[in-house]
Structures are given as structure tokens and as C-alpha cells.
Amino acid sequence: MSLRLPGTLLAEIGRHGSAAYPAECCGALVGRSGGNGAGGKEAVRLWPAVNRRTDDPHRYLIAPDDLRRLEREVRAEGLEIVGYYHSHPDHPAVPSAYDTAHAWPWYSYLIVRIEQGQPREAASYTLDPDRPLMHSEPLEVLSEV
């Protein structure tokens, strides 16, 4: 599988991460998938979420009620949630054990490193169907036409 997204969305994720620094930001990637994702997924817009974990700057949580609302909203647009993004403040863009333990299959998990408030590299991962392992997936950044 692979994840495609416009460069403007990636820049937006970076800005969200910088604004939340030193805490983590999180949100959903809204777009399309070819059926069950075999043909890759494409994000067309972001849905910046409210991080419901306020007790620990190194954790994020998107609450189920928020997700149910978003699901209804994107379905009406003929889109779907293809994955989620979050930032790793001062830490590489690789999934932590906590990320892996809480991941769902199929979704893309895009992580961006925020170093001293500045966005750095981003990478996307999916969960192995047998858990508990995340695989890196190709991240295709589209430039504006």
C-alpha cells in the first residue's frame, strides 16, 4: 500500500505540529482509497483533531465521539478516513511501542518529527495484519500543478 498526499497538506501537518509543540498534535487524513486500499490511499484534506490527552504532552487521543461525527461528515462528502497523523516532538518519525500497541489495521499512520518547534521529516506506516508490528509504506508527496 502507499499514501499519496499534496505537498500543501504535508506543510499544513508541519504547521499543526509546530503550533502544538512541545505537545503532540493529531488529526485525521480524509480522502479516498481504491476499494480496500489495494490501489493505495490518497488524502485530499486534513481534519485537525482536538487532542483529548492533556495530562501527558507525549500522548495523543482522538475520542470515539469525535470520530463518529467525522465519519458521518466525510461519508456525506463521498470520502472516507484513510489514516491519521501525529507529531513526535524532538523524536524521530518512527512509531513508538505505544503507537504500535494502539494502531488499527489498514489505516495509514503519518508521523512528522518536530525538532525544537520546526517540522522535519515525515513518514507513513501501516500495522501488520497480525500485529504487533508497523511497516513503513511509500509516502508520495504531490507537488501543486
Binding site: 480496500n36 470520530l67 505505544y98 494502539h102 488499527w104
Partner: protein, 477 residues
Amino acid sequence: MSVTVTIPTPLRGFTGGADAVELAGGTVGEVIDGLLAAHGGLKRHLVQDDGRLRNFVNLYLNDTDIRHLASTETPVREGDVLTIVPSIAGGRPAVETELPKLSHAEVLRYSRHLLLPEVGVEGQRKLKAARVLTIGAGGLGSPLSLYLAAAGVGTIGIVDFDVVDLTNLQRQIVHGTSTLGKSKLESAKARLIDLNPNLKVESHEVRLSAENALEIIREYDIVVDGTDNFPTRYLVNDACVLLGKPNVYGSIFRFEGQASVFYAKEGPCYRCLYSEPPPPGLVPSCAEGGVLGVLPGIIGSIQALETIKLIIGAGDTLIGRLVLFDALKLKFRELRLRKDPECPLCGEHPTIHELIDYEAFCGIGAAPAYQGPEIVAEQLKDELSEKNDELILIDVREPHEWEIAHIGGARLIPLGQLPDRIPELDGHAEIVTYCHKGSRSMKALEILRGAGHSRVRSLAGGIDAWAARIEPGMARY
């Protein structure tokens, strides 16, 4: 019963692409068991090894989270829709700081701990790395800080702004006769460092308030509440919930004590137990009602024990349990505490997101207490010698206080008996009431005035002021 289970996109790879599955069952649990039996690949994503739902899997029966119903025991009806909704969680790894090493001298000092597999070298190193804040260096703060220091907790912060008084030493064993009149922080620090020179003591000589609480508490792993008043207790609780810290709670009165661990991440908070403070004045403080000196020793030691268990991760802590101790009966009782989903602080829809004005919340200063006319001790002395028989002096304290000391010529009528004994008093007499320090006697004035006595005054500062200025030979307490 036939129920529709809707399958979210990420799990459709395990149901052959189906977005909904029809299943039979009488309860949510039975339907889920049926789902897992039909589509085994879902198992590792939905349930833990012990068969319970993973904490980031949410089930909605029609439009309600089953946690608000009877959980997996919730009965289902024909045509119900059960929806699987993910929670999305993650985050970068916590900074794994290396635990501090133990010196040979420390290994020897803590050898009785190191022999316990539940503590061991690793637990002892966790204790050394731990930062614990104790609120108050009084009755509870004394034993708990002594035991934490002896156990090898690396850093203890103490918040207090009082000085050591002779009435403290009946129970506040971290202080001593040689430190009378010194600040409690200075006194406690010297004793704790003497007990364990490896310890780092951080002194916060302030009254904990909404302005400084977050800043102080943020720097510690665990907070131990040894306060004696409601505004500070709610303040400590709220700050701990907002910062995600465990709050090891203890309280004492006369012969009874309680202890629990409030940790909103894993269980209830103090507000889940007591959403509102009692009306001001209803619950007397230890200074008013007294306390058996050994009682804080027991409750404070339980607090130290729970703190150590939280640090080393051993045993079952008091999270979700309230222990009640009765010293006279020598009985421990235990109450199960439940997290209140409606809790304004740690419930599902919290309305408190920052610290508030706790004095106002507890009704202190809101409604001014009755203020009647007072008489100072010198004036009372003069009037007693002049008029003698025309003046009735009433001591409204308890008989055991009367036994410690009383003013010559006074009549003992404890405040609780006063309303019934008003007929004993001459309706035209001039009355002066007194108590220990002046507040109960003001309540007595209110009662007497209500019963039609107009010539009544209260001794300002009570028998304590009388003993200080008129009769220096009188015992004070």
C-alpha cells in the same frame, strides 16, 4: 435476537470486505463472541489475551457507548445496531532516563529492602529516582516523610509555612523540643537529612494556592496530601487531576482516619467521592475537636506505604478503594470507590479545566459568621469584681475542657446543651459567654439573642486570651 454489527473500514479485511455482519445473541458480549468465532482474524485487534475488549475499542449500541450501559452484559433486542468505533491513540516514547545507581553504602543501608524480590535493586533505584511532594509537615506529613526518607526516596518536596508549636509535638514526630519556634520546613529538613543524608529535600515555604499549585506540583511524580482543610484538599485534588499525577490521600479526626489513592488515569478522584465540600464549620478541625496522637502515625504510614507501592509498582494500591480506620474499635473497613462518569473534573464531559477559587468553593468568607458584641479580658476582670452577682459568666466549652482550666465564678453550659437550658437563666441578667478562642462563644450569643436575651457579650479571644493576660498561672491548651 438478530443484531447488525457494523464493521469499520480498517477491519473489513477480516470480514471478507463486508461492512456489516448479522449475528444472534442475547447480550453485547454474546454478539461479540459470535463475531470473533465467525471472523477469527478480528480477535487480535479487538480483544486482549484475557478476552476483554482492548481499551481503544469502543462499542456503541445504537447511539450509546456500552460503557454507559451494562457494558458487555447489556441485553440486545431484535434490530439493534452494534457499531465498533476506534479510539485513535499514540505518542512518542517517554524519555527513558537511566535509573540512578546505588553506592555500596546505599546497598548496605537498604539491604532489608533488597532482600525483598518485590523491591530488589531495581525497585530501590526507582525509589532513588522518585520525586515525591508532601503537602504539609504536620501530623500526617511527619510519619510519612520520615518513612519515605528512610526508604530511600531520592527527592522529597515539602510545602508548609507554619512554625513548630508546643501543641504540635503530641503527634508531629518529625519535629522536636529543640526546634520549637523554628519553621516546620527547617525543622523537618534537619531531621530527615539526619535520618538519611542521601535525601534531597526541596522546601516550599508558601501557602499552596491556585496561583502556585500547578507550578509546584508539576515537578513531582507523586503528591501526598497531608492537609487539614477542605479548600487545600480540593486544590490538591484538582491540580493532580489536571497534571495527571497520583494523589495519596489521608485524613484524620479524633479517633478515626481514612486513606485512599486518587489517580484519575486509573480510578476515581476526590471529587468522585465528595463532589461538594461540607458546609463551613460543620466538620471541626483537629485544633477544635482534638486528635489522638498516634492516629496520624497510622494513617500517615499507610500513605507512605501506598507511595512506595506506586513507585516500585508492587501489590494492589488503594486506587478505587477508601480505607476507614477506627482506632478505638481497632477496625479497618474498606469501601469500593467508583469513578463518577458525571464528575466535573475527571468524568466523561469535564467542565473544570483550570484551578478555581477554593476558599469560595468551600463557602469560606462567603457568608460572614454572626458578629455580636465582645468584651475584652481586662474589662471582664473589672466588671466581675465590681458587679459580681449581676453578671452571669457562662463557659460554653465541653466538660473535659473545663477540667483543663476555667475562669472563677463561671457556669458550665456546653454549647450543645445551651438551647435547652436557657430557662435556667434570668431573662434580665447580663451575660458574658466564653469558649476556648472565641468562635463557639459567638454562636452561643446568637442562640441567646434569638431567645430574647439582649444584654449579652462574648469574651474576645476566649479563655486563651484570659490566661495570657489576666491569669498567667492558668494552663493553656
